[in-house]
Subunit: 470 residues, 2 copies
């Protein structure tokens, strides 16, 4: 049997992150400030440290990782690359399947890769508290871990519905010394206003973002806001995943024909594929690698959404972001892959999609849990529901190889474990899961509303996204 | 900073387990059959496969690990040895602290090290189903994982109180394809009898053992019983822990001055220390290494119990075992370290204790969680409550070194993660934990009852344990 775990020594933790910005097939369109209808970043400079804003806008290809960050990374990095020997056997496929496993981090997912540098840069600029929102809790727990590490306080606004349903994530945030409020909360003006109108409001990511941002803006203690995905600097930090994977695949003299990952905001998948994309643009790639993202049919932003300017949050606090979106008023069905329920996507994912550098497939959660079950039965690791979408893609690909006899090399990202998602597996076990497909008509409705809200939207879309002459 | 994770390649997964039996300072006393008052193993041959019984009684020093078992071990073995760099810094100690981390296994603890070979040997002898009891659920989930791996069915009787309190473990057993019943259950004569008298009975490990053994004895399908600790063959399988650790310490040119671990039945700690004990008896040890086990003050079998013949279970189905015990009628306080609530201990731990080869310290859970908090704050990993007892021992030792200036090398076993124990941390966070100290008088009462039950007990104790002339 081949080596199962391909491991790197700590010296091989990357010393620089890779930034895709200078290598994009076309430049990233600017954010738009809806009040001026012109490029503008709105509140961004008030809630992020200078170093992070610098990275967000940087055109440098390689950005140094501070030694202090690499020292914390050592707790779990380099993460293992697994050969899915037992899964290959179960599927009887001629394909080789590899997965990069980020569930070994203290918070159990890739989110710590960016939480650590984000808190570090804040700490260096004298910030003593960071705020954020969290849905299912992966980001909130990763941020709390990172904050604890650098002696910074973390305040997390967790969507009330998840706060009640996923108590273990809340407890983990406490264990890491974080402060957590069910959102809407009485801590902020935004929260109090909503609770006054609806005391039983179950919250949403949009509301939680509003609370976390307000907290950072008004706090008397020096507080900044932090974000777990979508923004360029977050994706940048996640490239440690892909950079390590490249070295690991080289150790077994292999290179992927196809790379699967799941996309919520798009950070983990970008972290994996950017370095492979760099191989391609620098002609170092030994073969053509297909990049296939996976999303939930309950939240099909790339497969059914439009590439257009839209707000990153329901409450319209953020500037307009050029991205595939289902509309900022999108209300997700209660699928267990909480991390995939975001209405938009990282702008670079949209550019790569538009320029035919990658594609996206959508799966319903019943098929996804069927795939996760096969993975557990063979590989033993219980995956989170989010990366189980990538597992579904990889298994389908491996089964197609079985039909055709192709000996493809399939790589996918297992971005987190499912230890705090056991209720999802129990619901699956008990036959309680619904497939959920988001209807196309609903997207059209949201787009109509967006155009009614901003009648000038087509103009900026043409000018910055389609780059058509006005 | 030194290397944080000391990793071995898969080729270094041990090829043989180390058996302490031939190297014990005195031979292991036999089991006693209370019906004959003579040495005898009772029901043992009816519920275990021949290969396991062979290992249980073996005097061979090295026992080959089957290739099929090593192939499954590759999923998580060799497990990492960590240098506790961040904890050392937090404590400002001149000591070097290392921990071997077994939480990387699919079920999250060391239990899989023995579950895999146990199911393998059963499968080889045609057994198609295995039964067992579980308290907090670590053993039940490890066995379910192993059974899934070899296509064998697993039936787990989980103590009702834990079944209700720790739903995630039950769900994990389901996810691994295991069948689980809250004990007492209606599946067995023993369970039905108890439920008839007391329909709300919350169960105990003793009752669950009775059910799992009865299941194996009466089942029409070829079913065997499996056990997660105490027995020699279980401890033997766990020696992969210590054998790997020796290689890893050699990689950084170090050797422990003291080794901490926690003891429930004693299998994980034995797995770590046996190979170091072998170094000592073969004069290969470069220094004198202190072996210090840790237990809960709520269940102080070694520090307050007596070394005497007693049953392994409350229902008195097992033969009499020569061990430190609090009495088979012991009812544990509801401490969160469920794995440390067993009234007895592996007989070899008792021999090593009696022969002054090791000592044991007891800690209350408030002090234990204080130590766990320091560990989380620095190392990031959330430990299970059981190994947090070992963390407490290691931290105290490191703080003593700070006083004396000694640069000791401290090694401890982190036998599992605490992802399914978050309620314990939340209770600690909320100030709800009780320290619990088991009163010495209670032990005396249990011993009196035992002597009343078996008036001839002193005689066999003298003959086989103390080896005094009759």
């Amino acid at each position: 049997m081949p080596t199962k775990k391909i491991l790197l020594p700590e010296d091989d933790i990357p010393k620089q992150w890779y930034n895709i910005a200078p290598d994009l097939p076309k430049p990233m369109p600017p954010f738009i400030d809806p009040s001026t209808k012109e490029p503008g970043v709105g509140i961004v400079p008030k809630i992020f440290p200078k170093a992070i804003i610098g990275q967000e806008l940087s055109k440098e290809r390689w950005i140094d990782i501070p030694d202090e960050v690499r020292e914390v990374y050592k707790i779990w990095r380099p993460s293992p690359l697994y050969r899915a020997t037992h899964l290959e056997k179960l599927l009887k496929t001629p394909a080789k399947i590899y997965y990069k496993y980020e569930g070994v981090s203290p918070a159990g997912s890739h989110k710590t890769n960016t939480a650590v540098p984000q808190v570090y840069y804040n700490m260096k600029e004298g910030v003593t508290r960071v705020s954020t929102e969290t849905g299912a809790g992966q980001w909130g727990s990763a941020l709390s871990f990172a904050a604890m590490t650098f002696g910074v306080k973390a305040t997390v606004y967790m969507v009330r519905a998840s706060y009640d349903q996923k108590p273990y994530r809340k407890m983990m945030i406490h264990a890491f010394g974080g402060e957590i409020f069910a959102s809407p909360s009485k801590q902020t003006e935004a929260g109090r206003k909503i609770l006054a109108e609806d005391p039983d409001n179950k919250g949403s990511l949009g509301i939680a973002i509003s609370e976390a941002v307000e907290d950072a803006l008004v706090s008397e203690v020096k507080t900044n806001y932090t974000i777990g995905s979508v923004f360029n600097h977050v994706l940048l930090h996640q490239t440690v995943i892909g950079l390590e994977t490249q070295k690991q695949m080289a150790m077994v003299d292999d290179y992927p024909d196809v790379i699967y990952g799941c996309i919520g905001g798009g950070s983990s998948y970008s972290g994996l594929i950017w370095p492979f994309y760099h191989d391609k643009v620098t002609k170092k790639a030994p073969k053509e690698t297909k990049l296939i993202a996976t999303e939930a049919t309950a939240c099909p932003k790339v497969t059914k959404g439009q590439y257009i300017y839209d707000h990153g949050d329901t409450a319209r606090i953020t500037p307009l972001v050029p991205m595939h979106t289902l509309g900022h008023d999108f209300i997700p069905a209660p699928i267990h892959a909480g991390g995939l329920r975001y209405h938009g996507i990282a702008p670079t994912i949209s550019i790569l999609t538009q320029e035919n550098q990658m594609t996206t497939e959508a799966y319903n959660q019943l098929d996804v849990f069927d795939a996760a079950k096969l993975f557990i039965q063979s590989e033993g690791i219980i995956p989170a529901p989010e990366p189980s979408h990538a597992i579904k893609g990889a298994i389908d690909e491996a089964l197609r190889c079985k039909e055709t006899g192709e000996e493809k090399t399939i790589l996918f990202l297992l971005c987190g474990h499912g230890h705090f998602d056991m209720q999802a597996y129990e619901d699956y076990h008990m036959g309680k899961l619904q497939p959920y497909e988001y209807p196309t008509e609903k997207v059209a409705e949201s787009m109509d509303k967006l155009h009614t809200l901003y009648p000038w939207l087509d103009k900026v879309n043409k000018q910055y996204i389609s780059c058509e002459p006005l």
